[in-house]
């Protein structure tokens, strides 16, 4: 490279870094540093019983491995993900396909599905707490019309997760629908027309054309849905506080409890580290797993 070219390259690099600088400060301070900070603090015993935190190695992790509540919480997260991710993708895909077609009140239908997205999770928790209340809640009233007695949704260990999943599906399906709508609109009409000309049945059209071409969107949506299933805990605060007996407790809420109710800072950091590792693992799996299946034009 000639010196003039080199100088230009240097200037360009400097300029680029200058552009990145503001974002980088905040990223470093509030994404990178906290990750390593948690890692470090997780190796300390720092709770109410230790006014001076001391280095304890992997003690917190050992205690975590023996902690029943931790395993319960982790299992709950798995069930929560399993319950919300595929289901929400299916529902939202269905919604998108129908909302994409010419039908009366298309706009209204889309609005009806999408509006829960703009409501804060904490308000949704409030609303559904009322809906699930035995005897006076909406669900109980509806069942009453059919002469059935509804159970105590949020108070029964076997039902509370299902109740939460339904609520989260209600919130998220509309949001994902919009992404699928975008994806659908990017599929060329020609493909559908030539399929029609060839007399291909509708479901085949879906499996061979629509679904594969929507793979990138599906990947995107599934990542969001999966991350959301870990992030969404606001409702626990207002509805069950993780109960009954941790049946609805989730990892992030357990971190919140450990940090701000038990004030066990070492353990909270350890739990955060575990959560971070989990998320990174899942992201990696999704990227490499899906990668093979995506058809790009």
């Amino acid at each position: 490279m000639g010196t003039a070219a080199r100088r230009k390259a240097l200037r360009m690099n400097a300029f680029a870094w200058l552009l990145l600088f503001p974002s980088l400060i905040f990223l470093l301070l509030f994404t990178l540093y906290p990750v390593f900070g948690s890692l470090k603090l997780s190796l300390y015993q720092a709770d109410l019983g230790t006014p001076e935190p001391y280095f304890a190695g992997l003690d917190n992790y050992a205690a975590m491995a023996e902690d029943e509540v931790f395993w319960k919480v982790l299992t709950n997260n798995v069930w929560f993900a399993v319950g919300t991710v595929p289901t929400s993708i299916m529902i939202s895909l269905l919604m998108a396909i129908f909302a994409n077609k010419v039908m009366r009140a298309k706009g209204l239908v889309r609005t009806a599905f999408f509006y829960p997205t703009v409501i804060p999770m904490i308000a949704i928790g409030n609303i559904w707490l009322f809906i699930y209340t035995p005897d006076y809640g909406m669900v109980a009233r509806v069942l009453e019309w059919f002469g059935l007695e509804g159970p105590n949704w949020l108070g029964t260990q076997s039902l509370v997760m299902i109740a939460m999943i339904i609520m989260v599906l209600w919130k998220e399906a509309g949001y994902f629908m919009v992404f699928f709508l975008a994806g659908l609109q990017n599929i060329s009409e020609e493909l559908y027309e030539s399929a029609k000309v060839d007399g291909v049945p509708a479901w085949r059209v879906f499996w061979r054309i629509t679904f594969p071409l929507l793979m990138p969107t599906t990947l995107f949506v599934s990542i969001i849905a999966l991350t959301n299933s870990f992030k969404l805990v606001d409702h626990l605060w207002i509805m069950t506080k993780g109960g009954p007996e941790n049946a609805s407790n989730l990892l992030l809420y357990y971190i919140f409890e450990t940090a701000f109710s038990f004030w066990d800072r070492g353990m909270a950091s350890a739990l955060t580290t575990v959560m971070i590792a989990l998320l990174l693992l899942l992201a990696a799996l999704q990227f490499f797993g899906f990668d093979r299946k995506i058809h790009y034009r």
Binding site: L48, G49, N152, G155, T240, P244, N246, A247, F260
Partner: protein, 453 residues
């Protein structure tokens, strides 16, 4: 394009500026709706203020009962400020007890503690472990005989959660006990004497069975929220308290407690007089008012709410006894925080005395339904007139002779979670009381280890 950039930069600058400026937590809001605050920031490092300059107190308080409590508190604060022109009180409504505790702790950890707050009496040990609160004995002593009369006027049952190791840290303010509410009309319908509430465990089960019918439960006891508090009733009625007064030991798995938990569980599963599963704390009073349950265990704090909303004649009585009557106390105390200046501490002490003044505390009790924590409050004209018209208000006070301290230990957050989970495991699934309590005991002991060295 340039103007758009300019506009955006201006917007950012303004937003950040405005946000940064009005941050810091102690500046007046653009529309001040909370009472009393002036523009003074409490200095983090206190320097001696020349006398005559205003002292500003930040006061965190929870609202745990329905009604215009915020207004009442702000009115009281205003009255105090009128009487003490050199003190400004800034009451900050911080949500439920749990929220208030969270915020107080966060504030302490962040280096900007409030000056005074009303917190659950059970948070005593946690606050001590954080070295967050001041002992109040010096203040009491400084008031001489007046101080002595003051502190002795509080019911011992309420002082139990306010003192430890010979020192006083809290002044009872909005205290309660659990009582039995019962629907007199439902009693009549079931052929029971509406003036006679069940007095023993057996009678409780018996009455509840008679009262249970389609659309109506005999009894409801909350299984969420403060279920350990509810459990303490049975435990105290059958044996000793669940923890040691110094907050370092717990006694969860005694045979008496196992029996107590078994009784509670049987009410739901065997006698079928209570709904199974986790009955939500908040729905129990609504259920009672709507007539979906004929009896309920709940806080006296609900008295005014039930009185105003129940369309039927209802009664309030002691909780049924087993070996003795018994109930835990509940509710909040005033604390003074460490790390604030001498002036502020004095001002806070004045404020506390003002708020717990006999007449005021009597009125507070009448307005909210909480038990007035001072003996003298029941001698005031206002209170006497009130109980004439509403004798139910005296039940909680009379039960005080059988009342004991609410469950409170070091590492309270963890320990109460263990016992709460244990109770829920028995009532919402099929775990046996003995096993559940044993597990809670082991877990609690582990959590209390560092405090027993």
């Amino acid at each position: 394009m340039r103007s758009m950039t300019k506009a955006l930069l201006l917007m950012t600058a303004c937003a950040t500026f405005a946000a940064g400026c009005s941050g810091g937590g102690n500046d007046p809001a653009p529309t001040s709706s909370s009472g009393g605050g002036n523009g003074e920031k409490p200095a983090a490092t206190e320097s001696a203020k020349p006398s005559g300059e205003k002292v500003e107190l930040t006061f965190y308080y929870p609202v745990a009962v329905g009604g215009p409590i915020t207004k009442t508190i702000e009115d009281l604060a205003q009255q105090f400020m009128d009487e003490n022109p050199n003190i400004t009180v800034k009451p900050v409504y911080t949500g439920s007890y749990a929220d208030t505790m969270l915020k107080a702790q966060a504030a302490v950890q962040g280096g900007t503690p409030p000056d005074t707050a009303v917190l659950l009496s059970t948070e005593l040990f946690t606050l001590l472990d954080m070295d967050a609160i001041e002992p109040l004995d010096p203040f009491i002593a400084a008031d001489g005989t007046e101080g002595e009369t003051f502190i002795n006027d509080f019911y011992p049952a309420f002082m139990a959660n306010s003192q430890t190791e010979g020192q006083t840290y809290g002044i009872p303010f909005q205290r309660s006990t659990i009582v039995l509410y019962y629907n007199k009309e439902a009693f009549k319908e079931a052929g029971l004497d509406p003036e006679k509430a069940p007095a023993t465990w057996d009678e409780l089960a018996d009455y509840a069975k008679k009262l249970t019918k389609d659309g109506q439960w005999g009894l409801e006891i909350p299984v969420t929220g403060f279920q350990y508090w509810m459990f303490q009733t049975f435990a105290l009625q059958n044996g000793d308290n669940m923890m040691s007064p110094d907050g370092k030991k717990v006694f969860f798995d005694t045979p008496e407690n196992v029996e107590a938990l078994q009784f509670w569980s049987d009410l739901a599963k065997v006698h079928k007089v209570m709904p199974e599963g986790a009955t939500e704390w908040g729905t129990v009073p609504s259920d009672f008012i709507e007539g979906k349950t004929a009896m309920m265990y709940h806080t006296t704090g609900n008295l005014t709410n039930v009185k105003n909303n129940a369309k039927f004649d209802f009664g309030v009585s002691f909780l049924p006894q087993k070996k003795t009557y018994g109930t835990p106390t509940g509710g909040g105390n005033f604390y003074i925080f460490k790390g604030i200046s001498e002036e502020k501490q004095q001002a806070a002490w004045k404020f506390i005395k003002f708020m717990t003044d006999t007449d005021r505390i009597a009125q507070w009790s009448i307005d909210t339904g909480y038990v007035a924590p001072r003996v003298s409050a029941y001698e005031t004209e206002a209170m006497k007139a009130y109980v004439q018209e509403f004798p139910a208000a005296l039940v909680a006070r009379d039960q005080l002779q059988y009342a004991s301290a609410e469950l409170s230990t070091h590492n309270n957050g963890k320990v109460s979670k263990f016992i709460n989970d244990a109770i829920q495991s028995v009532l919402t699934s099929t775990v046996e009381p003995a096993a559940a309590l044993k597990k809670a005991q082991e877990e609690a002991e582990k959590a209390l280890e560092p405090f027993n060295k």
